[in-house]
Symmetry: C2
Subunit: 112 residues, 2 copies
DNA sequence: TTCTTATTTCGCAAAAATACGAAATATATT
DNA sequence: AATATATTTCGTATTTTTGCGAAATAAGAA
């Protein structure tokens, strides 16, 4: 791409694109759903639930951490992860706002 | 990555991840918003609204087409684009379902 | 037919994402 | 201290995404 151009767009667009990017891989969606289903902090054993190596799962977890969608704490050698409900609801609001913004009267558009 | 592993996840996860991926770039969000604001089919002139070349904008448009989020028709040499309201509302439902699924009682998780 | 305009396709290059094994790190147990 | 276990970091390889200029294509105008 020669030069990354994403930073030429306004902050809100960049921020929202980043958040959607965190959801743009089935492994990350699977991790989030698993965390919601188990309803508890679980340690990294759940790598075995996914068809990926422990290292790769850890990489996806790091991306979810960076996006703010999950929280974690450690106890001994183990790390416990959980959903960040605050960020999940923020995501919900962002998604809803986008959909509302994109929803327009159908008859104004592309009528042949 | 050696081998693409996305196909090892179930269809729904893959489909949803694909849809979020379409939203995972500020240029594509900008295009969608512009289409909503102008409320009409516009031709490719709006490449000049973005800090990207005509070719790159066309590439992003193709991705939005492939995701089903926009429709288009041609008239002479010009191509007119518009939002696919049906897909937008489908996106809204998918996003809402995901948020609902990920929303759990806060006190069950990561309390130190 | 030739010229102009709009768009798409092609080929290429750079950046980012995905994936994993090996090694390093950190904690708990023996 | 030595061992076992859990996780993270490092190095590397491959794929995908992003980006663009040049050429090709297509339609209308002169």
């Amino acid at each position: 791409m020669a030069i990354a151009k994403t930073m030429l767009f306004n902050d809100e667009l960049q921020k929202n694109a980043e958040l959607f990017k965190a959801l743009a891989h089935p492994a990350r969606l699977a991790i989030l759903k698993y965390l919601a289903e188990t309803r508890t902090c679980i340690n990294g054993d759940f790598a075995y639930e996914l068809p990926l190596s422990r290292t790769t799962v850890n990489q996806h977890l790091t991306e979810l951490k960076n996006a703010g969608l999950i929280l974690w704490h450690t106890s001994g050698v183990k790390t416990y992860y959980c959903l960040n409900q605050k960020k999940i609801s923020e995501l919900g609001e962002i998604a809803k706002a986008l959909i509302d913004e994109l929803t327009i009267p159908e008859d104004t558009c592309c009528q042949p």
